[in-house]
Amino acid sequence: MASPLLAMTGIVKEYPGVRALDRVDFDLYAGEVHCLVGENGAGKSTLMKILGGAVQMDGGTIAIDGRKTVIGSPVDAQRLGIGVIYQDFRLVDELSVAENIVLGQEPEGYGFLTVLDRKAEHKRAQEVLALLGESLDTRMPAGMLSAAKRQIVEIAKALSRNVRILVMDEPSASLSDHELNNLFAIIRRLKSEGVGVVYISHRLEEIFSIGDRVTVLRDGSRVETGAVQRMDRRTLIRLMVGRELEQEFPREDFAPGGEILRVDHLNAGMLKDISLSVKEGEIFGIAGLVGAGRSELAHVLFGAGVRDSGSVLLKGEIFDPRSPGEAIEAGCGLLTEDRNRYGLILQMNVRENVTLSNLRELVRGLVIDRRSERTTAERFARQLKIKAPSVEVSVETLSGGNRQKVILARWLFTQSKLLIFDEPTAGIDVGAKREIYMLMNDLVRRGIGVIMISSDLSELLGMCNRIAVMCDGRITGILKREEATQEAILSLATQFAEAEDHAG
């Protein structure tokens, strides 16, 4: 084999008190997709930040095309043909697609007096997009694009810089299956052009569909590198967590009980004629492409959107909240898709985040009773096994899984009867995912209604008793566990031809 495009050898990175990377080796060949997996904190992001020049290593060497090199800054990385696409895209919303693609590559000209040739910019942008087999209106502001399209712009941006090494950090986080397939097609095209791709993902099935080789990191060390073909899901999980994980989806069967939520002919904005019911003893899944209206449905149920018509009953009582406050009062809780933006107050500590929605329980006279607030928070932290040194630490110091638990604790404290989980395990690692699933089982056991919205079909299939599939604002089918398969869900999710154009 020829010398690798990239060889990182013995990479060490120390942070005060932790060795984030301990003599890690990682290499990448031209035309290969090398997946990087590991739990949160395993060191994947740190390794890629070193490659992207955002962070400096404390030991080890990096060679490109067999020549040792130093990546001192993101500019160095760019010059060496390394492109990193971060999870939170780095596009300027106000600038057009074309302007974003050429940003930073404007001709030198006369310094700030340089007149930009817009026509040439659009032409260049369209050329690059054509390489990806995409056609986008390059005049559209980037902020108006869907997540999937923004990602394509990011890839185009990297390509226009003649990238040879492309790093994609959790590219699928906000993509529907259909969009993901499109992304894979683009990646295959890049491969055939000789680009080396580093692909980071928590979703293992993606690794099996797109990866050539996979490297597993655990606690800052490389555990294994090997051909994807020679791995299976179970092995990968074992390597990542460092122990045998009994069962990825710990589904339990409960006796079906009474109806918790009943929605009849609900219309609201894009949502059309939604009818469903959630019973005691089940986890009710909602599948669909991004933009199908799943989150909108959650928001409307939670009083954060306006209803046009239809009726909703919660435990037999009319449930028509005009605000999230009223929904909470009636016993509904929403675990939002983006925990950090819509769930937590990051400046606050665990205690304050847990009690936020039910402070009146804790108020004595005019004052919040500090002692009972603390014991309340500690009780839930114990119950949900929130890993934190104390409830007084900032939620910013917690991992994704523990942050999710903090919000769950909030809704347990308000004594919710119905909990809606919107993408509950996005960005959460395998071990912590399982814990979230077990907590869902606990909730069901306690008679709480659980709705799970997810883009991860395997978790829906693995955990739900029934799955409603949405497409273009409607429910196109509700599948029982026995009927639910990937294919059945996907065909319902793309039932309306026009839905694909609206998706995203």
Binding site: P324, M348, L356, R370
Partner: protein, 317 residues
């Protein structure tokens, strides 16, 4: 993964502004023999009290990631309104009740208007309060035809000039306002909601908090405290001055920011604001005692504000 904080930044973050304040006190004690006397220090608190009381309301507003530029104009208009009502020939207790009541009510109403414009009409606080600033200033001039309101009932000036034991009444009021505000922010539901709304308003809304109500209340508080200060100032100069409180909004914002409250909301304390106010007050007083020319003083105050905020940046590293 954040690097562990350096010792320096930890000291700055835990004691930063307090340490700077103590240093300042020590410095002026050495530089001027007239500084560290009971009379002078009480005088500083008296002089600082007017803006410090406003700064309490401003702290609440800034904690919600807002701003209130109308405070200086409210000082003038509430002073004018109170003194105009006082001059109407009402029997004494009623005159005071009506005068003070009118001033305070104006403040609260102005805040309510600001709050409603910000929440219902989604206009940014900067623009809303900028407009109110010129509206109230103009109104104060219109009412008085540009002339001060003199010849007030005897005793009105006693409010600001009187003392309880040896402590000036405005100083006492300032202490009470700060103590109450500290209590409200740290111990009550309302205080918690203020931090939540400022920290992440969308998350706060989805947690069931009625953020519109919190915001309106916060602007009302700011208006009310500005009016209280306006009345105290009118009492101190024994007249209603339409040009009173000019540029106070900037002094007050400076005190709040020097006190460590983030302009992005969600972080800050009124204790910090108290120290920030006193730090600037002591600076002015000390420079006066050392006979530093007033033009030079402005430069020094500006530099100190920058230094304080730079320290704040450092500690967030």
């Amino acid at each position: 993964m954040p690097a562990e904080r350096s010792t320096l930044s930890r000291i700055l973050s835990d004691y930063g502004i307090g340490a700077a304040f103590v240093l300042e006190l020590a410095l002026f004690s050495v530089l001027s023999p007239h500084f560290a006397t009971v009379d002078n220090l009480l005088n500083v608190t008296l002089q600082t009290s007017i803006t410090a009381i406003i700064a309490v309301g401003m702290t609440f507003v800034i904690l919600t990631a807002g701003i209130d530029l109308s405070v200086g104009s409210l000082v003038a208009l509430s002073g004018v309104l109170t003194t105009v009502v006082l001059r109407a020939d009402l029997p004494v207790p009623l005159a005071y009740g009506a005068g003070l009541g009118a001033g305070l009510l104006l403040g609260a109403l102005s805040g309510a208007v600001a709050g409603i414009l910000v929440t219902r009409f989604r206009i940014t606080p900067f623009i809303v309060t900028l407009a109110l600033m010129t509206i109230w200033r103009g109104t104060a001039f219109v009412i008085t035809e540009g002339r001060p309101v003199w010849e007030l009932p005897e005793g009105f000036s006693e409010i600001a000039r009187g003392r309880v034991f040896f402590i000036p009444i405005p100083t006492l009021i300032m202490i009470v306002v700060f103590a109450l505000a500290h209590f409200v922010l740290t111990r009550t539901k309302f205080g918690r909601y203020v931090y939540a709304v400022g920290g992440n308003s969308e998350a706060a809304r989805l947690a069931g908090i009625r953020i519109d109500r919190v915001l309106v209340q916060v602007y009302m508080l700011s208006g009310l405290l500005s009016a209280l200060s306006g009345i105290l100032l009118a009492s101190r100069v024994d007249s209603g001055q339409p040009n009173a409180g000019l540029m106070y909004e900037l002094d007050v914002i400076a005190a709040v920011v020097v006190g460590g409250t983030s302009l992005f909301g969600g972080r800050g304390t009124v204790i910090g604001t108290l120290i920030g106010s006193l730090l600037i007050g002591v600076l002015r007083n000390g420079l006066n005692l050392m006979n530093v020319e007033s033009y030079v003083q402005q430069v020094v105050v500006g530099v100190v504000i920058l230094l304080a905020v730079m320290m704040d940046r450092l500690r967030k590293r």
